[in-house]
């Protein structure tokens, strides 16, 4: 009976948690727009969340593209199909690796930082002081970070894929001798704008929404102690990573499953 009660408590806690997270998000993004105040905050967060994540995205994209070029070539050359290296690299990146790896890196780089920052603001009573100054912390702190994460992640995913394709080209054409014209032209004819590029962007938007939401909620609800912030930061990375991988399967099944 105790076990049953504990199971029930866990389930109701989880549902209450989702409700609280939803209430936080709606409180942050629904309301009268105040562009004069919120635009500078959004731009500032785009820099913190997006621009500062560029290095890790570009470097990771380049290496993953190069590895794809190398691995793809060694497999395709056995079948005399090395001309298809371009579409293999491009499709892998646009459909899967671009959105997924960018989201995972984003969760580790920007998501954890968002959680820690908001958790520390809570621990140092900055959120409470905003409330007492009649400034809604959801609109002032959470909203600009949410929109910055939601907008910047798809852009980072596109940059990741573009750099990755270039990395694949460097290894495939520059090093392994795949014909440059074939690499680009076969890629151009094989990649569909709507099926591949748009689906990748849709995936990325979903991941951006979920990762940023998780990161902000974990920070906003964390226990305001050093141990609490540490736990919340870890939880952001773990929960967001699992959510990305789970959602990726569901989205892939919906988009390409037949």
């Amino acid at each position: 009976m105790d076990r049953l009660a504990r199971l029930g408590a866990t389930v109701t806690d989880a549902i209450a948690g989702i409700g609280r997270a939803l209430a936080m998000l709606l409180g942050a993004i629904i309301g009268k727009p105040t562009p004069r105040k919120s635009w500078p905050l959004f731009v500032q967060q785009m820099y913190v969340v997006g621009v500062l994540s560029l290095i890790i995205i570009v470097v990771s994209g380049l290496f993953i593209g190069m590895v794809l070029g190398l691995q793809g070539y060694t497999i395709l050359v056995d079948y005399g199909a090395e001309q298809s290296l371009g579409p293999m690299v491009a499709l892998s990146l646009l459909r899967e690796l671009g959105p997924v790896v960018t989201a995972l890196l984003f969760a580790g780089r920007a998501g954890s930082a968002l959680t820690a920052e908001i958790g520390l603001m809570k621990a140092t009573e900055q959120l409470s002081s905003l409330e007492m100054m009649a400034v809604d912390p959801l609109r002032r702190v959470v909203a600009p970070r949410f929109w910055a994460g939601f907008v910047s992640m798809p852009l980072l995913a596109l940059i990741f894929s573009a750099v990755g394709i270039y990395g694949g080209y460097l290894v495939g054409s520059g090093w392994l001798g795949v014909d440059e014209g074939a690499f680009w032209s076969v890629m151009q004819s094989a990649v569909d704008w709507r099926d591949d590029l748009m689906n990748g962007i849709i995936k990325s938007l979903v991941f951006a929404f979920v990762v940023t939401w998780i990161a902000l909620y974990k920070g906003y609800r964390c226990e305001p102690t050093s141990a609490g912030i540490s736990k919340a930061t870890t939880s952001t990375v773990v929960t967001a990573s699992l959510a990305i991988l789970g959602l990726d399967f569901i989205l892939t099944a919906l988009m390409f499953g037949g």
Binding site: T124, E125, Q126, S128, S129, E131, M132, M133, A134, D136
Partner: protein
């Protein structure tokens, strides 16, 4: 309106733990009221209840004749523009300079030009003796300076009520003396009403017009500082004289120490 703040029969629990069980107190307009009590008694909770950050299970909390417990979010935020709180940590925004911290409420709630905001900020910083520190970041301030910078921010919008949460905690004697004088002089010069939560008995009683001692989930004693000093109630004597033994237990556990050491207390 004689009382700016009035709490009547307030009940509040945090989880399973009852914090207040029928708390009543009033804060007359224009006065400095001290709220004292042992640590962990819920003094900060009291300020959060008055500010509407927490809602009581039952009872009435009136601020400026408005029933805080019944206010809509919008009206509560309007009321908060008339009140201010100095947090124990200062709660300065760490990504802004001292100047921007003090200017923050003005930029959020007024349409004043930057020139006017600059003048107001400099006046407020001058009042707390930090005009020269305007360009420093919060991390560059000492504890006392941070508290004073936060005080400048708290008075930026010329509120009617300021709530001080342990303003003397962790301060050196000089900073403490400066903050004591500031609370008194700001109250007089700006015509404020002040609630000071503290357990620094001597400092707070030196400036308070009226004081409450909270223990055992309600007000156990109240009066002017002189009346409290003459109060012979055991809990008042223990608190004002800082005695370890008395109605408020120093030891958390009731188990016999010797038995506990021998491992028998818990059977």
């Amino acid at each position: 309106m004689d009382n700016f703040v009035a709490l009547k029969d307030v009940h509040f629990s945090h989880g399973q733990r009852t914090i207040y069980d029928g708390l009543s107190l009033t804060v007359p307009k224009g006065k400095i009221v001290a709220v004292m009590g042992p640590s962990g008694i819920g003094k900060t909770t009291l300020l959060r209840l008055i500010g509407g950050q927490l809602r009581p299970a039952s009872g009435s909390i009136k601020v400026a004749d408005e029933e805080v417990t019944q206010l809509s979010r919008k009206k509560l935020y309007e009321l908060r523009k008339r009140m201010s709180m100095l947090f124990q940590s200062g709660a300065l925004f760490t990504d802004m300079s001292v100047f921007d911290n003090v200017a923050f409420p003005l930029r959020e709630h007024t349409e004043l030009s930057e020139d006017v905001i600059r003048s107001i900020v400099l006046m407020k910083l001058e009042a707390v003796g930090l005009r020269g520190a305007r360009d420093l970041m919060p991390s560059e301030l000492s504890g006392g300076m941070a508290r004073r910078a936060a005080l400048a921010r708290a008075i930026a919008l010329d509120p009617d009520l300021i709530m001080y949460d342990e303003p003397f905690a962790g301060q050196d004697p000089i900073s403490m003396g400066v903050i004591v004088k500031l609370i008194r002089s700001l109250n007089e010069s700006l015509g404020l009403t002040s609630i000071v939560v503290s357990h620094d008995v001597d400092e707070i009683l030196s400036i308070a017009d009226y004081a409450y001692i909270i223990a055992d989930k309600k007000v156990v004693a109240e009066g002017t500082p002189d009346e409290l000093r003459e109060n012979d109630k055991a809990i008042v004597r223990q608190f004002l004289q800082g005695e370890a033994d008395g109605p408020v237990k120093f030891h958390y556990t009731e188990d016999d120490f010797a038995m506990d050491l021998m491992g028998e207390a818990h059977g």
